[in-house]
Structures are given as C-alpha cells and as structure tokens.
C-alpha cells in the first residue's frame, strides 16, 4: 500500500479560468520574458528558440506549451524503506505531508519553560529521529542545516539523512554544485532524494548561480521542485489574479529550461503566492486566509498542466505552540490537501514563520495532520466550510482548549474568506493585470511600484483582518510522546 492520502480533489478555479491564467502568463513570457544573465542557461534558451533582448529572455507560447507537454506527469520518489515510497501523479492523486525548512533556531521545553537556541547538528538528528517515528510525516525536507562549514554541508546533510531516516529525503537546497556526484554516490538510488530550487526570484528573474545548480540537478534526473514565492504588494501585484499570473509565468519559464536540459524533466510545481503585511512591517503573510486561498488556487493550475504540485501549508507567525498556531495550521493543511497538492511542505514543527522549529510542535502537528486526514477520508469532496470548522475545533479539543462562540465566529470568517473570490478571472482583467506587472517590471524599483499600486486593493479588504484564537493548550501528552522518542536526554526537569 503506497503512502499518501487518496483524495477527491476540490477545485477553486474552473478549467476555463486556468486557461486564461495560462494565456496571461504566456503573454508575459512572450512580451516581457524573464531576466537572465547566466550564460549556460541563456545558451540553452536560445538554442531552444527563445529570443534574448538585453538581459531578458523571451519565449513563445509554442515553446511553453511543448515544455509543459514533455514534463514528467508522474514519477516515484523512492525511499530507503520501499514502504515509504511516494507516487506523484495528478491523474490519481495522493496527498503527502512532509516537513519544511530551513529554520535557524530550535525551541525546546526545558524546566517547564520554552527556550530558544541556535540550531546545531544535533537538532537535525533529533528532528530526523522524531519524524522517522511520526506516522503522518511522509517525507522529510531538511528542517535545519548541520552546523558545519558550507563546503561540508551537502555531504554531511546527506550522511545524517541516510543514518536517521528511511523516508524520502528532500535535501532542499544544494549548496555546492560539484558535491552532487558524491551525494548521488552516497545515496545509491538517485530517486530517493529530491531538491527544491528557488530559481525564480520575483518579479520574473531566473537568478544565478541557482539557475546553474538547477540545470545540474535536472541533468542528473533528480526530482526538483521549482519554487517561486513572491509577496503580493512587494514583489508581485497585491491582486490575487495578478500574483498567480506572475508566479505561473516564473515557474513556466523554469519548466521550459528544465525540458531544454532534459526532455521529460521530473519537476514539481512549487508556487507560493503569499501576501505581505502592508498594514505594518511588510513581512510575509503565509497562513492568513488570503494566502491559504492563493496557495490552494495554485494547485488547480498544476492540475491544469498535469504537473505534480509541491504544496505549502501551515507556516504560522506564532513564536511558540499556541491555539492560534494550531488553528492556522489546521486550516492550511485541510485546504491544501483538499486542493490535491501531492507533496506538501507542511511546516511540521515550524514556528515564527520559518525561523524556528520545536520538537514539541512536530508532535502537535502530526496529531493535527492525522485529524485532517481522518476527516478528508471520511468526507471525500465535502464542503470545507463545515468540515474545516469541525477539524479545527477537534484539534483544539485534543489539547483541552475550550471552544467559545467568538472562536467559532472567527474560524467561520476565515473559512468564508478563503472561499470568497475578490476579483474576476476574465480576459480583460487578466490583461489589465499583465499590463500592471509589465509596468512594474520595467520601472527602476518594481517593489515600490507594487507597493504603491496595492493601496486600492488594501482598501477593498484583500488582506484578511481577524482575531486571534486564544486558549491554553495542555501539552502533557505531547511531552510524553517526545520523551518516548528521544529519551531522557531532552526531557525538561
């Protein structure tokens, strides 16, 4: 029995809406293209028929469509234990939950208090051991890096993964390109590892030297997630429609490159169209309802192409395990899983966005994911307005948090926001957003343009403003489970 949750996919966008998003992204790539200065990538694009104009490379719709057609539509991500293999296939989707990264700090409960320290190699080992034991962790994305010099990082990380997990090893970033042959030699079967490449930097830029590492990974036939993570209002339009067109164009440009390197490339589509906190410090908003919605919409786009989706969910702002963090995380998981993302970086164990990991939070999150899976299996295709609310409160109850009417209202508001489109997906509106992106990209400071242009959308309420979920959590069982896995060494006195 392969790993993963069989689901009945729920869609937010119709096929016709996905098609006009595709048209908008193609127009961007045809008319404006992506910024690219790497000579190797430029040569590949030009040999494939793309046109270089200054520091930008423009590609035709045909070129894009051919690349999408060639891209691998299904593949197996292997693991040391064959029972931990993952099958990625949009035609018969299975949802897999994994960790995320990379955090700098570790938060542990010691002497009854949470204490934060810089993450070191031992923390990576502990997290790998915890995740190996947790039933609902299907794969592991490197949560923290070992504290060794950069030149030793890739091989040390691989060694630790091999020693402490039998699950699929998503090593995330490749630090030194020339280490790749040694990594492959160590792991034996190259399909037991995968990478994430942040090759696309918004707006519309394929960056060196990441692009060179990306080419190398693809040429070695190793699965790689193409990541694009703009912040609406800063590096993309605040508009949901505009941001999705831009993310899609960025990822499609890398899909084209991947297929020029190796036709039939095994890539995952990792679009993360989040928003920015334009009310305050412009920090990223990952777990707020508008971002949960946008990330779920991306899954629809990946199904339109038939390319496996590397999803993102549950990146909370909270600094320690709280009811607020749990409520945000559960909503993120349920919507991303229901949207059919097959390989979800689920921010297991993560807090303070992606800055901190906590052994206790891994166990809380595993319990939360088990509930999400249970409800989605019991009610396939159910309206998430009801199911989503039920799962959030069931999760809170698990930790003895009492439900109040205010909490119910807040969760209902968040779900309503996720379900409610704020803009239209019409050809005119799409073209208007494309023009807007082109203007910003061609101005000297695109972020300033995106920021200024976000003023109208802000006043239309495109960023969700809600209330926190408060309520003390009982973590007794969590601490017991943690001690059971890691033994006395980590126990607080």
């Amino acid at each position: 029995m392969p790993r993963g949750l069989k689901i009945k996919k729920q869609s937010f966008l119709t096929e016709a809406e996905c098609r006009i998003v595709h048209e908008g992204s193609c127009r961007l790539l045809e008319e404006t293209g992506v910024e690219l200065t790497n000579p190797k990538a430029l040569n590949l694009f030009k040999e494939g028929g793309a046109i270089q104009k200054g520091n930008r490379i423009k590609m035709s719709r045909d070129m894009i469509n051919r690349a999408v057609e060639k891209t691998a539509k299904n593949f197996i991500m292997k693991a040391k234990d064959p029972e931990n293999e993952l099958i990625l296939d949009t035609k018969s989707p299975r949802v897999h939950f994994g960790t995320g990264g990379q955090a700098l700090y570790v938060l542990r409960k010691e002497n009854g208090m949470f204490k934060k320290k810089e993450a070191v190699t031992q923390d990576l080992v502990d997290i790998l051991r915890i995740c190996e034991k947790l039933d609902h962790v299907d794969f592991i994305t490197r949560p923290v890096e070992p504290d060794v010099p950069d030149e030793e990082m890739d091989l040390e990380k691989t060694r630790l993964f091999l020693a402490h997990t039998t699950k699929h090893m998503n090593l995330a970033n490749l630090i030194i390109e020339d280490c790749l042959p040694d990594i492959i030699e160590k792991v034996g079967d190259r399909s037991s590892i995968s990478f994430i490449s942040c090759v696309a930097v918004s707006p519309l830029n394929l960056v060196s030297p990441t692009v060179e590492k990306f080419i190398r990974i693809v040429s070695e036939d190793i699965p790689v997630a193409i990541s694009s993570c703009p912040q609406a209002g800063l590096t993309a339009p605040l508009s949901e429609v505009g941001e999705i067109i831009q993310v899609n164009a960025e990822i499609l440009s890398a899909v084209v490159l991947a297929n020029l390197v190796r036709p039939g490339a095994k890539v995952l589509y990792r679009g993360i169209p989040i928003t920015s906190n334009l009310h305050l410090d412009v920090s990223p908003r990952w777990c707020q309802p508008e971002s949960i919605r946008r990330i779920a919409l991306i899954s629809d786009i990946t199904y339109f192409y038939g390319i496996p989706c590397c999803g993102t969910a549950a990146v909370s702002d909270e600094k320690k395990p709280t009811s607020q963090a749990l409520s945000e995380k559960v909503l993120g998981w349920i919507f991303e899983a229901a949207s059919g993302a097959q390989f979800i970086n689920s921010a297991l164990g993560m807090l303070e966005q992606v800055m901190t990991v906590s052994p206790e939070q891994y166990i809380i999150d595993d319990m939360g994911i088990s509930l999400v899976k249970k409800y989605l299996s019991m009610h396939p295709g159910a309206d998430l307005k009801e199911t989503g609310r039920e799962v959030v409160f069931k999760a809170l109850e698990t930790f003895d948090v009492k439900t109040t009417r205010e909490m119910e209202k807040e969760i209902a508001n968040r779900i309503e926001f996720i379900y409610s489109p704020k803009e239209e997906y019409s050809p005119d509106y799409i073209n208007n957003q494309v023009d807007h992106i082109v203007n910003a990209v061609s101005s000297a400071k695109s972020s300033s343009k995106f920021l200024k242009d976000s003023r109208k959308g802000l006043r239309k309420g495109w960023l969700y403003m809600g209330k926190r979920i408060e309520g003390a959590m009982n973590l007794k069982e969590v601490l017991k489970t943690k001690d059971g896995i890691l033994g006395m060494r980590l126990r607080g006195t």
Binding site: L278, D281, K452, R455, K456
Partner: protein
C-alpha cells in the same frame, strides 16, 4: 499663493508623485502631481524654504499622524515619502544657500553576499521622506566599502540589511571593522532584516535592531 502651497501639501498627503497617478478615488490621472506642482512653484519663484516648511514637512507630519491613527498603511507612507523625494530633487539645488540642515547622513547597505534590497529600499525612502540624507550603497556591499564610506562622508549613522542567514554575520564584521578603525564611538549602527533579532543585535554590538522602517525612524528620533 497659500492655496497653491496647500495643493502641493494635499498631493503629498495623497501620495501622488506625478500626473500619472490616479489617486485614491481613481479619478485624478492627468491632474498635476507633486513633481509638476513643485516645478511650477519653482518656476513661479516661490521660496523653496516655504515649499519645504509649508508643504513638505506639514504634509509628512499629517501622513505620520494618519498612520498612527490606523487610517494610513505602509504603502500610503511610502507613496508620500516618494513625493517628498521627488520634490527634494527639485528643491535641493535651491536650498544649498538657505542654510537648511537635514537630520543627518545615513549610509544604507545590504551586506556582502546578499542581493535583497526591498527592505533596505523602503527604509531608505522613508528616511529620506523624514529629512535624512541617505547614501544608499546598494546590495552586496563589502565591509571595506561601508567603512570607507563612513570615513569619506563622516556619516554618523549606518543602516545594514540582510535577508539571508548566511549573510547576517557580515553585520558583525562591519561593527568590528568600525572598532578597528577607531570610528565606532562616533557611529550608530542600525540593523534589520528577516533573520535579525534583538538578541543578534546585542550579540554583535549593534546600537539598534529595527523591526521595520517606522521603527528605524522612531529609534533615530528617540
């Protein structure tokens, strides 16, 4: 004349840099914005000191007050600060002989190895809008370049930004180099960026950890 100056102030508050800006209600495209109005004021020989003290300064004060009340948000502040920047570009040459002093020189840089400039640019824009002379060195700036610029310009403020965990260590190098060169006691170092924390600022001996642009302004003016 007061009515004309009032119009400049209103456009600063609305954040309309030029005539292309359609304004809050989407109806003002084609109408002159701050750039055109200040140019007209200069042509009319209106005193640059009057433009500064009757339009720019009170305009930004009003914007700050609207922000504090929650009626204005970050993009609104930025739009107004850009208006001030555009106006100052026209007024600076005329103010040279007027003995008007700015609030001080600040060197801004994203540290070596880091190409992220959004945060730094926002802080730079808002600092300019608040009356500081900003010397923006850009991204991927070496420790040596920052310290040399401190020496050359005699700036007493240095703002450092980093988004990457792998580059934040360069901030400590800047602080150390300033010490070695005997410049540290005359220079305040402000740091900020996603991976930065108060603990990190204390650890490396920076003077201020700033959570955002407004925090930077508040700390400088405290």
């Amino acid at each position: 004349m007061d009515e004309f100056l009032e119009k400049i102030k209103e456009n600063i508050i609305e954040g309309r840099v030029d005539s292309q800006d359609e304004g809050f209600d989407g109806t003002k495209a084609g109408q002159p914005g701050v750039t055109e109005l200040v140019q007209e004021a200069v042509n009319k020989k209106i005193s640059p000191v009057d433009i500064l003290t009757k339009c720019l300064n009170p305009g930004m004060e009003e914007v700050g007050s609207l922000y504090e009340k929650g009626e204005y948000l970050t993009p609104d502040m930025l739009a107004s600060a850009e208006c001030v920047k555009a106006a100052m570009k026209l007024l600076d040459p005329l103010l040279v002989n007027e003995n008007i002093q700015n609030k001080g020189k600040i060197i801004m840089a994203t540290v070596q190895g880091d190409l992220h400039d959004i945060g730094k640019n926002i802080v730079s824009t808002l600092l300019r809008g608040s009356g500081y002379e900003v010397l923006d060195l850009g991204t991927d700036v070496s420790v040596g370049k920052i310290v040399e610029t401190v020496k050359e310009t005699k700036a007493r403020l240095v703002g450092l930004s980093a988004l990457l965990t792998s580059t934040m260590g360069r901030m400590e190098d800047v602080v150390e180099k300033l010490k070695k060169e005997g410049l540290r006691k005359n220079v305040k170092v402000l740091i900020g960026g996603a991976p930065i924390s108060m603990e990190f600022a204390d650890k490396i001996g920076a003077d201020f950890y700033c959570t955002d642009a407004f925090d930077a302004i508040n700390k400088l003016e405290a």
